[in-house]
Amino acid sequence: MAGALMLTTALLASACSGTGGGGESSQADANTITFMTQLFGTAPNPQGELHQAIEKFLGKKIKVTWVPNADYPEKVNVTLASANIPDVMVVDPKSPAFGKAAEAGAFWDLTDKIKKYPNLVGDEKVLLNSSINGKIYGPYRTRPLLRSAVMIRADWLKKVGLEAPKTTDDLYKIAEAFTKKDPDGNGKDDTYGLIIPKWPGTTFAASSPFNVMDVWFGAPNNWGERDGKLVPEFDTPEFFEANRFMKKMIDEGLVNPDWNTLDTAKWNDPFVQGKGGIIIDVDVRTTQLLDLLKEQDPQTYGDKVLTVGNLARPDGKKFSLPFSGYKDILAVSKQRVKTEAQLDELLKTLDKLASKEGQVLLTNGIEGRNFKVENGEAVLINQEDPKVKQVQDDVDKAFIQLGTQASTGTTGIAYPRVPPEAPYRKDLAERKERVAEDLKTAVFDPSLPVVSPTAVAKGATLNPIVTDARIKYLAGQLSEDELKAEIKRWYDGGGTQIAQEINDLVAKLGQ
């Protein structure tokens, strides 16, 4: 009973107002725009310099509900169920709760309108990816299309006398050497190769190190064509090939023993503390690693991280894992923005915010105050001044989340920010080459624009089946046959229907 009541209490607030068009008190104020988005630090003060600068630029007041990143998906679901949906909400368009709300008419369908606002369109392919079966509910927040990479302790690699890896076999050899050859030279058997954290969530293709390796071995990226039909990643021989490879590494102790409980927030720790030597993740992690290693030793930190791109499988064929190119969209609430005229007004403002000047404000800050432009790059200035530091924090930990055409990586229209130190500059230069190279072998996910209704309805119970089964297989709790049986259970429980729907929907979109 407690559970049901907990839910219904949370939903009670929505009871009165959720009447298909909104309550009386939710009338939007034409001069104020309310937002909800993620937060990575402390919430900026509305009286703060940056907040004020943005309001001045837009000629409108803004009110942002900042939600700590870790709680965001839950907060979104609770907000969707309440009467307090903001004008503009940063939201994952593929989440079931959003899909249902959008279908019921809680958000504006911008498919035919968004093209009128040049700054909001972005890349048409990515825009389609961020849609629900072709219906676009808002401008997407751009992210680099290819970010998967391998980070390796360069000093260890030198110590054990190995080269940068090109294939998964090379990776295995490095992991083995890192585990057995005492790469830190302390005479103790206290190191391992690959560092894998507990992968949170139960969505299968969640860009985990496991998914990266699946694709390396030639499995589809989430969904892919086999004999003219789309099948999920885990229903291919290559998936099992990849998992055998990973299981071997885990069984032989080349992976951190706590790989299924290590908190993702502590992912960098073993690398920096010299316990493990390989991380497979997004390439921006290199910057974090450099930051941490620099704290340890400002002299030699540049020699400690080597980042390489996607790896080829044993037979030399290479496949790279691209990402969706976006992270969340900015959806416009119909409850608050009621008329087409209001919508037009709001989209104009969002378009202005997505212009170069607006994106610079959100991603770089205030020119001449916390940064200056040199050779087309943003260089931080006055960082010792606590007030400027505040502006910088407000940018980095908060407002950057509202940027649609900006990202901390190398994508976007704002100024790229490059630290002055050589190792960072070197990494960034290499990253561009790497990405260009890997894009040639990128395996795209054809199912990105579509959402299967069955997956929405039954996802909650279906999703954990295969994610958990794979982890259990890797941990040695399930045999390969039992893993196959679990996959069959997924199909029987509704997966067959999902596959059918995905195939139909993708065919209908004419991709």
Partner: protein
């Protein structure tokens, strides 16, 4: 005030004539009724009004459309639940944990209270009592973090000791489905036993000392006294506690289990409470989650009535 609360003097005339009318009784006990209002309001606002929301278990609830706009689907979500892959596992895990709770957690405070009761050194008794109820004030988050620190395979202090002493393979206690239940029960014991002991100690304090003296006169030793005097004296307390517990039998401590769940032990760890949260708040399937919660609630109510009935059949006084 005090005089108002005192029962009214019985008037001779009343006994002879008609019944006192309702309004007059109400007026006479007005202060008592006034005292009732806040409590009543609490239950209405926080317990009964939200029950209106239970209707979404029978709808395909979309918050934007509200209670009135959402489509009615009858028992669809219940059918999905009972025929779905989760039901058996949830039921099994929940009942299994409930069973372990009955076996290990329920008697623990009784045993501890009896043991403390036998202690004759007062200062020792007091300090032990204080020490064991301190964990009650720690949050589950802290308890879970402690468990991870002590038992995780790479950094765990205790896990390391066990490995050193017993040898063999290093065991990742916090990720093994087999270890999930023992860990949960140990955590619960550690956190709750001391606190619940207080109730039994209070009951023990009320036992008439003459009974012990009489028993001693009859030649009863310590064990005999315990069996024939102490235990019967606190039996009503035990029965009431048992009935109260039976209603919450399916209420696992949500936070505790949620914090200890991971991909590897999910099959063992999922109980109704965590499932409702995961499906409802995390995945946004409000209607389905409510159906699950409602089912659990109904079972809880049945259990309360059942155990109450059983208590009466066994010759004890029930709750109602």
């Amino acid at each position: 005030m005090a005089t108002d609360l005192a029962p009214p003097p019985v008037k001779a005339a009343k006994v002879a004539g008609h019944k006192p009318d309702r309004a007059r009784t109400l007026w006479r006990y007005r202060w008592l009724y006034l005292l009732l209002i806040p409590g009543l309001a609490y239950f209405i606002v926080f317990k009964y009004v939200p029950m209106r929301g239970l209707q979404i278990a029978f709808q395909d609830f979309v918050p934007f459309l509200g209670y009135n706009g959402s489509e009615w689907v009858g028992f669809k979500h219940f059918v999905d639940l009972f025929t779905g892959p989760d039901f058996g596992r949830l039921m099994y895990n929940t009942l299994y944990l409930a069973f372990l709770n009955v076996i290990f957690v329920f008697p623990a405070p009784i045993i501890v209270a009896l043991m403390l009761n036998e202690l004759r050194i007062n200062i020792l008794k007091r300090s032990v009592q204080s020490l064991i109820y301190i964990p009650h004030f720690l949050s589950w988050t802290i308890v879970a973090s402690l468990t991870y620190i002590l038992f995780s395979v790479d950094y765990g202090v205790l896990a390391g000791w066990v490995h050193e002493i017993l040898g063999g393979q290093k065991i990742d206690y916090v990720a093994q489905p087999d270890w999930f239940r023992p860990i949960i029960i140990l955590q619960t014991l550690w956190k709750t036993t001391g606190w619940t002991t207080i109730i039994y100690l209070a009951a023990l304090a009320g036992v008439n000392h003459e009974l012990y003296e009489a028993a001693r006169m009859d030649g009863a030793g310590r064990w005999r006294q315990l069996w024939h005097v102490t235990l019967p004296a606190i039996r009503p307390t035990i029965v009431v506690m048992a009935i109260l517990m039976s209603g919450n039998l399916l209420d696992m401590s949500f936070e505790q289990i949620w914090l200890m769940t991971n991909n590897l032990n999910r099959a063992t760890a999922d109980v109704f409470d965590t499932f409702v949260f995961y499906v409802g708040i995390n995945q946004g399937a409000f209607s389905y989650a409510t159906a699950v919660g409602l089912f659990k609630g109904v079972v809880g109510v049945l259990l309360i009535f059942g155990s109450n009935w059983l208590a009466k059949r066994l010759g004890q006084r029930g709750l109602f």
